[in-house]
């Protein structure tokens, strides 16, 4: 049974190897990708079911009990986020395939895209599942390396800068991560998360606090927490839509996940964490203001992404079961919604040939379908009921008020303000791009540039994939009941930490 935990990591890797070897057969690559992701979706669902019913599923790799070996742990939190991530990856792959067929024809194979996409999937899965700090580093590197390749693929002169920014900042943060691991090992002599929790208790308070904060920064860079967020709006918007969608939806969330996992499993803290709440407020406000200042649709969405990372940090800052329930729900919601929005943005640029809002107009008339596909996730992002964003936001707000500290109240107020600003930002997109006079599309300025496409060609695959995602955001809202319950159980697991520790350290018998 526990073998299933390894599937989301190893299967895509094996498939990536094959996809590389079959680099000349486009259909094989497509089929392989979709098949593997489909299998993982099923696998993740099964994992979630088992984790929820029977407790964390732990795979001691190689039969070596942790902390000697690396343990893969599928607890409720990991399984839930894995499931939603893989669903999004599946949909985005579908979109990508559609786009590539539209632009390059059916026979266009790629030695790059398909294998790398699969490796990315493996990295994301590993980041969720691993119970080992160094292995988490490896997971991040797998994920990031894939993202470097994807974001820099077919880059053009005007945008090579963006790729550089992204790559360099990420590499720097990786160096910080590695340094942090060095310091952790120097202080504790172990890198297993559950084991670390035990070792931390025996250290003097100064190193422990410094380590906790160092981890916040390391994962803060990855998750674009203010003031470490600058790179994101300068880089993400400059990749083709599906790539941006997947990076924006997943990578920052994995950063948040890692932050939550490490902070809560390894360290102990009272509810209402002033520093984190402060950072959350800064992230929300700066991000939202940034969004309001943009004219480029993708950049605006990127700033909103930053802003909403603040929501998740807020939940972590509340640091109790309610807060974490809120974060988990929010992550689930935001993964789907953010991916959808970037995909829709891709569709929009196909009709308008530009990413500048000031040069768009009348889209609602040109394509009512695109209007609907935009409106649902946009409203959801703004937290308008009855969409998923509202449910998740409600959970956060309740936790912020419920925690009963001044910091909590202030931050909750900022959440509300940010919601309003988000609504303003998306409403501006609506009024500028979807309303107004219909404009002739600007032609495709550079056919090698996948970002700006004014051809108006959209294959059914692209629209269907976007539709699938829109439906899944609706589904997240509709299933808010069970989702909130499972999130609450996951949050309880996290806070108590007992189930995780015994599952990782107590369960396996050595060798």
């Amino acid at each position: 049974m526990s073998e299933l935990v390894a599937v989301p990591v190893l299967l895509p890797l094996a498939a990536a190897g094959l996809s590389m070897a079959f680099g000349r057969f486009a259909d094989v690559q497509r089929l392989l990708g979709l098949l593997v992701l489909g299998v993982i979706v099923v696998d993740a669902a099964v994992l979630l079911y088992f984790a929820d019913v029977h407790g964390p599923l732990v795979l001691h790799l190689g039969g070596w009990a942790a902390p000697v070996g690396i343990a893969l742990v599928a607890d409720r939190l990991a399984a839930l986020l894995l499931l939603i991530s893989v669903v999004v990856m599946f949909a985005v792959l579908l979109y990508s395939i559609g786009q590539r067929i539209t632009d390059y024809g059916r026979g266009a194979a790629s030695t790059t895209f398909h294998p790398i996409y699969l490796v990315l999937c493996s990295g994301v899965s590993l980041a969720y599942l691993t119970g080992d700090l160094f292995n988490l580093f490896v997971a991040f590197e797998i994920m990031l390396a894939s993202s470097y390749v994807l974001i820099n693929r077919r880059t053009t002169a005007s945008r090579v800068r963006a790729g550089m920014t992204y790559t360099i900042v990420s590499l720097s943060s990786s160096v910080l991560f590695l340094t942090m691991i060095g310091l952790v090992y120097a202080a504790t002599g172990t890198v297993n998360l559950a084991d670390l929790a035990l070792e931390m208790g025996q250290l003097p308070p100064a190193p422990v606090r410094a380590l906790a904060l160092l981890m916040v920064i390391v994962f803060g860079v990855k998750s674009a927490m203010v003031p470490l967020h600058f790179w994101l709006p300068d880089s993400y918007p400059n990749a083709p839509a599906p790539i941006t969608a997947i990076l924006a939806a997943l990578l920052t969330k994995v950063g948040i996940y890692a932050m939550i996992r490490t902070q809560i499993v390894v360290f102990e803290r009272e509810p209402s964490w002033p520093l984190m709440l402060t950072l959350a407020m800064a992230t929300m406000i700066i991000g939202a203001l940034g969004a309001l200042a943009q004219n480029d649709l993708n950049r605006m969405l990127s700033f909103l992404l930053v802003s909403h990372i603040g929501f998740m940090l807020f939940g972590l800052g509340v640091y109790d079961i309610a807060g974490l329930t809120g974060v988990i729900l929010y992550i689930v919601h935001h993964i789907t919604v953010q991916a959808t929005l970037f995909l829709v943005s891709g569709l929009i640029t196909r009709y308008t040939g530009t990413v500048a809002l000031s040069r768009m107009g009348g889209l609602a008339k040109i394509s009512p379908l695109v209007a609907v596909l935009f409106a649902v996730p946009a409203l959801s992002l703004a937290g308008v009921p009855p969409f998923s964003g509202f449910v998740a936001k409600l959970a956060l707000l309740r936790s912020g008020i419920g925690v009963g500290t001044v910091w909590g109240y202030v931050a909750t107020g900022v959440v509300v303000l940010t919601s309003l600003l988000t609504l303003y930002a998306v409403a501006r997109v609506w009024t500028r791009a979807f309303w107004g006079q219909v404009r002739e599309p600007e032609g495709d300025p550079d056919p090698t540039d996948e970002l700006v496409v004014g051809t108006g060609d959209t294959s059914p695959g692209m629209v269907q994939a976007t539709g699938v995602l829109v439906l899944s955001t609706v589904l997240v809202a509709a299933l808010a009941g069970p989702l909130a319950e499972i999130s609450q159980r996951a949050a309880t697991d996290l806070i108590t930490g007992e189930a995780y520790r015994t599952a990782v350290l107590g369960g396996g018998s050595g060798g």
Partner: protein, 188 residues
Amino acid sequence: MTDPRASDGREETAVGAWFHSDAPAERWLLSGYSRDPRERTILLELVARVVFPTVIVFSVYLLFAGHYRSGGGFSGGLVAGQAFVLRYLAGGRLDDSSTVSMRPPVLIGIGLTIAVLTGLVPVLFGGVVLESASFTFAVPLLGKIKVVSSLFLDIGVYLLILGVVLDLLRTLGSGIEADIVELGGGSR
């Protein structure tokens, strides 16, 4: 004794052609194509012809010795890669000189697949993912031979790293070179 290259029409001046050639009379390293004589060096080609297989043997040693001494798949693969670097430096672009002519991405893919399959195979025998086992055979004359299943992971590593190095030579090496030629960056 005449200089066959002195009157070669391709060169800008005969002086340049002569000046730049240390080319040996025979093809010491390359079987397939002839390269620009200006880039050949008799000493290097000759030495590479001996050193190349030696280094490959050394890399295989590292691969197998890794379990007991310094070495391992990484070092082995890297050393093998360096052997190809030498070959590339001496002979120019890597040609069809090896029996197995494989595109580097394919080699990488195979390496990755082997490594992952090594992890997955134990599951078929009811083990845990990435579990290892060791088997000992007694062979007459040769003595006891011990095979550890994790060796296959090391072999995957070896192949993948070799593929990576070859790919780097293909891209950063020949790729950039071709680019220089195509864009007219060179003087030839």
